[in-house]
């Protein structure tokens, strides 16, 4: 049901030409459309019933995210309603939690995670940004990269060091800070796939005591649990991208004629399509596995399966997008053709919350922990 509704909405309100116009506006964001998606109830999906969501079942969100992937949909949905809401759901305490989750689900609040730093790459332990306690406040100092839709965010979830040294996995805490807090400044940028991303500078930002959410110094295990959910949703979105790119190529090789025949009648082309098709199937299976992991598994088991899925799907999705361009020939390089824009999208999705290589290495490390 969600799939049909989402598909219809995106087909009508987000065709390729509209998308290209929207990503080229100043903010890359359409308030009216955001309002409409809030009214459709999509932003309730990722959090559990207790907070007035449908039931927090990853399956529902995955269906929606796959549809986003199919339509190459760009919006702050993932950063706010998935990552932001999940982190708050898992880590925050009442009553602030319910209030914030409501604001996210209804649309007025857009929360963006500011957890990575230039030197950290995808390693969250490697955090320099500090939060020093003084009186009733914390003073935040440092800078963050990869802050999605920082240009329209209302709040930031900031990962900062409350104790320990730069590479320690302990000593980290999460703060929820409104963006108009004094001392926060931004460099806003466009991303290759038409989204927006910011570098955030924190200069003696005075955060209220209650902006600390979750356990002080011990944020990482819970943060990682929230991010596992988010990563599983990225996996679903990538399978949607794979579906669309595959269908585009299939249609193209059926209709493109060279040497007096459709190029799809050539064996070498058929074999390439078959390989792409098989990659789609493998990715779909691993996406279901990622969803199962966050629904049914915990701890190391969940971590391993989520990383396995992100590593596998990231690789397959990029390979398929490259193949899709190649099989289109020069047409595939054209700005007016959707296919290249899907490559940009999977390049971004692969990189978000750890690229395939990062998750491959994480999987190895988790396997070592698993066996000892």
């Amino acid at each position: 049901m969600i799939e049909r509704a989402a598909s219809r909405f995106l087909q009508n309100r987000y065709p390729f030409e509209v998308r290209q116009k929207l990503i080229n506006t100043n903010s890359g964001f359409c308030h009216d459309q955001w309002r409409e998606t809030a009214d459709l109830g999509w932003m309730h999906l990722p959090v559990s019933e207790h907070f007035d969501g449908h039931d927090g079942d990853a399956d529902f969100v995955a269906v929606l995210m796959r549809e986003f992937g199919r339509h190459n949909y760009q919006s702050p949905y993932f950063t706010s309603a998935v990552v932001g809401a999940k982190v708050l759901e898992v880590m925050a305490e009442e009553p602030a939690r319910t209030d914030m989750l409501h604001q996210i689900a209804e649309g007025p609040a857009i929360v963006s995670a500011a957890i990575y730093e230039k030197q950290s790459r995808y390693d969250l332990c490697n955090t320099i940004t500090s939060a020093k306690e003084s009186g009733n406040r914390y003073t935040l100092q440092g800078s963050k990269v990869g802050v999605q839709y920082g240009n329209i965010a209302t709040h930031l979830l900031i990962l900062a060091r409350t104790s320990g040294n730069q590479l320690d996995c302990e000593g980290l805490s999460i703060f929820l800070v409104p963006i108009d807090c004094e001392g926060i400044s931004f460099d806003h940028h466009r991303t290759h796939d038409g989204g927006r991303v910011s570098i955030v500078h924190l200069n003696k930002v005075a955060a209220e005591r209650d902006s600390l959410i979750g356990p002080k110094n011990l944020a990482l295990p819970k943060l990682q649990e929230s991010l596992n959910f988010a990563i599983a949703m990225l996996c679903a979105e990538m399978t949607g991208v794979m579906d669309s790119t595959f269908n585009m190529v299939l249609e193209f090789v059926r209709t493109r004629t060279q040497f007096g025949s459709s190029i799809g009648s050539f064996q070498s082309i058929q074999h390439r399509l078959v390989d792409m098709y098989m990659r789609c199937e493998m990715a779909a299976s691993m996406s279901s596995e990622a969803t199962r992991a966050v629904n049914d598994l915990t701890g190391l088991e969940q971590d391993r399966l989520v990383s396995a899925a992100k590593a596998e799907i990231g690789r397959l999705a990029i390979l398929n997008a490259e193949e899709a361009i190649q099989l289109h020939g020069a047409m595939g390089m054209m700005d007016e053709m959707p296919v290249g824009h899907y490559l940009k999208r999977v390049f971004a999705l692969n990189s978000l919350y750890g690229d395939a290589e990062h998750h491959q290495a994480r999987y190895r490390k988790l396997n070592q922990d698993w066996q000892t």
């Binding site: 790459r121 020069a330 595939g332």
Partner: protein, 399 residues
């Protein structure tokens, strides 16, 4: 880096001379464009560098004989010169005029064509582009339809050419046009040179999906071309086209360009980020990097064998195709790995003029991903790698 075997001491001395000249004379603003892997240089930049090389003794046209202003170099000298250009971030030579039309005219052109056309290429007064592909004739090039109808001592051209690189900065186009219908589609094709400023010509830009304007569609409507602008025999232009495509495919291996790109990635990977670890210490990255370095060395030695070994036949049909396939595959792999290097910061899409020119950190903003997208064209252009494999199967394996 794996060092390739040195050439003779005379040739290595030649390399030193060439290298010194390039390093001392390449304008810094041009070097920077090449160093961020920009392939589509503005006309002014191309012409400026071309003339600097011309003034050194015709170095702008390394394959040309001295009677037309070239340096009269042997194969090894040309090879070394192009290596040094690439390794020192100098622009690519002007492929259409210098690399393709020049040699075509030496072989097939009339004396008066040589006299009128070659000097303007040598002086970078005339920029050329190439009109081969058409909307429905890509891989199946011989099916081309753009019509040249003979009317008295003129041809009247109707139709269009597509994916025409640099047409928007070019003065003339050369290409293949349909003059007749033979039993085979390869018959009835004629090689013509056309002034782009003539009436009836429209050039529409076609943007690539990462934003650059490199290719165009060129429309011809009743464009009149003197018969004197024909090269070779009417209806027999396919042979010239094949010769030309062979020339083009050699350049497209871009071995030394990719070596330079890989060196840039090496510097990035070895750079220390305050508080971070070096990328080269990431085992998965290092493995991929090393694999590319080894593959590139294999390609370089193969190219050297094909181009310079006297025992290899000079017809070079399948050889050029093999170099093109492997060259562009490795090139794309290098750009993909480089785009990965910046992690989150690779995602940022900055306009070209805002690119951080400090290229020695993984965190120069975003142009690495843009290059990755842009260079996806290389396995497609100049005869897709699929077509190249067909050629190898036929020419080398007799299949």
């Amino acid at each position: 880096m794996l060092n390739s075997p040195p050439f003779s001491s005379e040739l290595e001395e030649f390399r030193g001379t060439v290298r010194t000249f390039i390093r001392e004379n390449l304008p810094d603003n041009i070097r920077k464009m090449v160093a961020v892997e920009q392939m589509d240089l503005p006309r002014e930049a191309q012409a400026r560098w071309h003339r600097i090389l011309r003034d050194r003794g015709g170095w702008c046209c390394p394959s040309w004989p001295s009677q037309y202003g070239g340096p009269q170099w042997n194969d090894a000298q040309q090879y070394i010169f192009e290596q040094e250009l690439a390794l020192n971030d100098a622009p690519r030579l002007m492929i259409y005029g210098v690399g393709m039309l020049g040699p075509t005219l030496f072989k097939y052109g009339s004396e008066s064509q040589k006299q009128t056309i070659l000097p303007d290429i040598l002086d970078a007064n005339t920029f050329w582009c190439q009109g081969f592909s058409e909307p429905n004739s890509g891989s199946d090039l011989a099916s081309l339809k753009c019509e040249a109808q003979r009317v008295g001592d003129e041809y009247v051209i109707n139709g269009s050419k597509i994916w025409t690189s640099e047409a928007h900065i070019a003065d003339w186009i050369f290409g293949l046009f349909r003059t007749g219908k033979g039993a085979r589609k390869q018959q009835g094709i004629t090689f013509l040179m056309i002034d782009l400023s003539g009436s009836g010509i429209t050039i529409d830009p076609l943007l690539l999906f990462e934003g650059t304007h490199e290719v165009n569609q060129v429309y011809f409507e009743d464009v009149r071309v003197p018969v004197a602008n024909r090269v070779g025999v009417e209806d027999d232009g396919w042979e010239i086209g094949k010769y030309l495509l062979g020339l083009e495919r050699f350049g497209t291996a871009e071995v030394s360009r990719t070596k330079a790109s890989l060196e840039r990635l090496r510097r990035i990977a070895h750079s220390e980020v305050p508080g971070g670890s070096r990328l080269i210490d990431d085992a998965s990255f290092a493995e991929q990097f090393d694999r590319l370095e080894i593959s590139l060395h294999a390609l370089e030695m193969t190219e050297r064998r094909f181009l310079l070994d006297e025992n290899t036949s000079k017809s070079l049909g399948a050889e050029a195709s093999m170099l093109k396939v492997r060259g562009t595959e490795i090139q794309c792999d290098v750009f993909r790995l480089t785009a990965r290097a910046g992690a989150h910061l690779s995602q940022i899409d900055l306009p070209r003029d805002q690119i951080d020119s400090d290229l020695n950190t993984p965190y120069s903003l975003g142009h690495t991903a843009r290059n990755y997208f842009n260079y996806r064209k290389t396995p497609i252009y100049s005869g897709s790698n699929e077509i190249q494999r067909n050629i190898v199967a036929k020419a080398a394996l007799g299949l």
